[in-house]
């Protein structure tokens, strides 16, 4: 029973971070209608920012406030100068923007590899391996703090999307682009802000993961895959769904690691992905109607 609860807690904590990754991807998906296949790579960049600041003695939770704005800016620039110009090009491939994100992901990975080499780095802090006990269940302090911060960002994001004009414009653009233009929404600017926000959120996830994970250039790929799985699980473009998707993936990986084998962590996620595509093609959105 203790093992079960332990696994459950670990899964939920991890799920909170995954939700953060998923919401960013989902926002971009909703507004631009594309899957951002550089999502994990953007997170990797944020992790390296955390690593460099860590070398300078800055705590990862503080470097959040550097990495997030930096990635927000990077995201805005990518959308403005690399993705939006593609909209003006007539081609037979409507997936141009998606292909571009693949390329951006590769470039980011190789630039980081060029600077830092392929070595595994770690951002170990005093609390990286610290735990506290509640009954017989141990909590990783680092993951616990990360979870709380992740929830705070998620709540802030929802508040932003529901209560502000820019937030509403983002949702409106996702629901009906032409109608949004008629209402005076500058949809070009909205896509730029959205990509920036998505990048900023995944940067937060990167900073929060850094203390409990290894940092290396190729870490982006698996996280892009996770972000993709979470987005599909949640139903494309649904932010609430992305939270469910994130927690589900976190739980699935956690239980898989405990009850099957540590080595199968990634296979579990992919298995769930395939099962959802087969039996619940709309994702959790179909169940919740949100």
């Amino acid at each position: 029973m203790d093992v079960f609860l332990q696994t459950l807690v670990a899964g939920i904590l991890k799920g909170g971070l995954y939700a953060l990754i998923g919401i960013g991807m989902t926002l971009i998906m909703g507004v631009m209608g594309i899957i951002n296949l550089a999502h994990g790579q953007l997170m990797m960049v944020a992790m390296y920012i955390t690593y460099v600041l860590h070398l300078a003695g800055v705590d990862p939770y503080i470097s959040l406030f550097v990495a997030m704005p930096a990635l927000f800016l990077l995201g805005c620039l990518i959308q403005r100068f690399l993705l939006n110009p593609l909209l003006k090009v007539d081609t037979i491939l409507p997936e141009n923007q998606v292909l571009m994100t693949v390329g951006i992901g590769m470039v980011l990975t190789e630039i980081i590899r060029f600077i830092f080499k392929s070595d595994y780095k770690s951002v170990s802090t005093g609390y990286s391996n610290a735990t506290f006990f509640l009954g017989n269940i141990s909590f990783s302090i680092a993951l616990g703090i990360s979870f709380i911060i992740a929830i705070a960002f998620t709540v802030a994001m929802f508040f932003f999307l529901i209560k502000t004009d820019i937030g509403r414009s983002i949702r409106a653009t996702a629901q009906d682009k032409d109608a949004a233009v008629l209402m005076g929404v500058n949809t070009g600017r909205i896509t730029i802000i959205t990509f920036g926000l998505g990048s900023g959120l995944v940067a937060a996830a990167g900073c929060l993961l850094a203390p409990v994970y290894y940092v290396f250039p190729d870490i982006g790929g698996p996280f892009t895959a996770r972000a993709f799985i979470i987005t599909i699980l949640g139903g494309l473009g649904s932010t609430v769904g992305a939270i469910f998707g994130g927690v589900t993936l976190g739980l699935a990986e956690s239980f898989g690691a405990t009850y099957i084998s540590m080595d199968y962590e990634n296979i579990i996620g992919m298995t769930i992905f395939v099962l959802v595509l087969l039996f619940l093609p709309g994702g959790f959105k179909r169940l919740t109607k949100i």
Binding site: D165, R168, S169, R171, A172, Q175, D176, D178, A179, A180, V181, L182, M183, G184, V185, N186, T187
Partner: protein, 234 residues
């Protein structure tokens, strides 16, 4: 107030409007009538900037609308209530209303305008928390008109507001149009419902194959032999 002068509009290589010209004067209700594919919706989309004319000009109160980006046009008081409502389906009625008031002027008066729109459409106040996509057809049309009014329009353009509504609701919609006009808003209406709209308008233009072929007051056109034969089935 609005002067559309000899505009040519294309969808890709296909020309839809051929030098079509008309004007709307302050406080008028002007109707564009015509069959499916005559270019009525295209005309409105061009005025609101979703489409660009290849030739010709659109001037509203001295401002060249055809040179403005689409999202800036609503700020000049030219508001388009699009065909098939085009509400933000997953947002509540109230959020849809708020989306109508993004321009700085409208934003400042958001609260008062909302109270006025709710007074005009009490049903919308009852449903304000409901997702717009779950409203009935008539309610959706009210929501779309309300959203347009939130922008404090000086010229309100309706694209087929009676489309898909039961006859009794069509009557309601036209009464609303008249009422809005009485409040001082100039109206440009596009309709296939020729008989009713010609009866309520000040002036009308008949569009055929992308050009204006006839114009006159509603009464004149109702009596016109060509209109009678082609649109009224007499």
């Amino acid at each position: 107030m609005l002067k559309v002068d000899a505009i040519d509009v294309f969808y890709g290589d296909l020309q839809v409007l051929w030098g079509s010209s008309f004007e709307v004067r302050e406080k008028e209700i002007v109707v564009l009538v015509g069959a499916n594919g005559a270019g009525k919706s295209t005309t409105l989309k061009t005025i609101s900037g979703l489409l660009r004319p290849k030739a010709g000009t659109i001037v509203f109160d001295g401002v060249r609308l055809d040179r403005l980006p689409a999202d800036r046009i609503i700020g000049h008081g030219v508001v388009h209530v699009p065909e098939a409502r085009r509400l933000f389906r997953e947002m509540s009625v109230e959020e849809n209303m708020v989306m109508g008031s993004l321009a700085p002027e409208a934003r400042k008066k958001r609260r008062e305008t909302l109270a006025w729109v709710y007074e005009l459409f009490p049903r919308m106040k009852e449903r304000r928390k409901q997702a717009a996509g779950t409203l009935s057809g008539g309610e959706q049309q009210m929501c779309a008109i309300g959203r347009g009014l939130m922008a404090l329009p000086r010229l309100l353009m309706f694209d087929e507001p009676s489309l898909g509504l039961a006859p009794i609701l069509v009557e309601d919609v036209f009464n609303i149009v008249k009422r809005i006009n009485k409040e001082g808003v100039t109206v440009l209406l596009v309709e296939q419902n020729v008989r009713q709209t010609l009866a309520l308008c000040d002036r009308a233009y008949v569009l055929e194959n992308g050009s204006v072929v006839l114009q006159g007051t509603g009464k004149e056109l109702l009596a016109d032999p060509h209109v009678k034969e082609a649109y009224l089935g007499l």
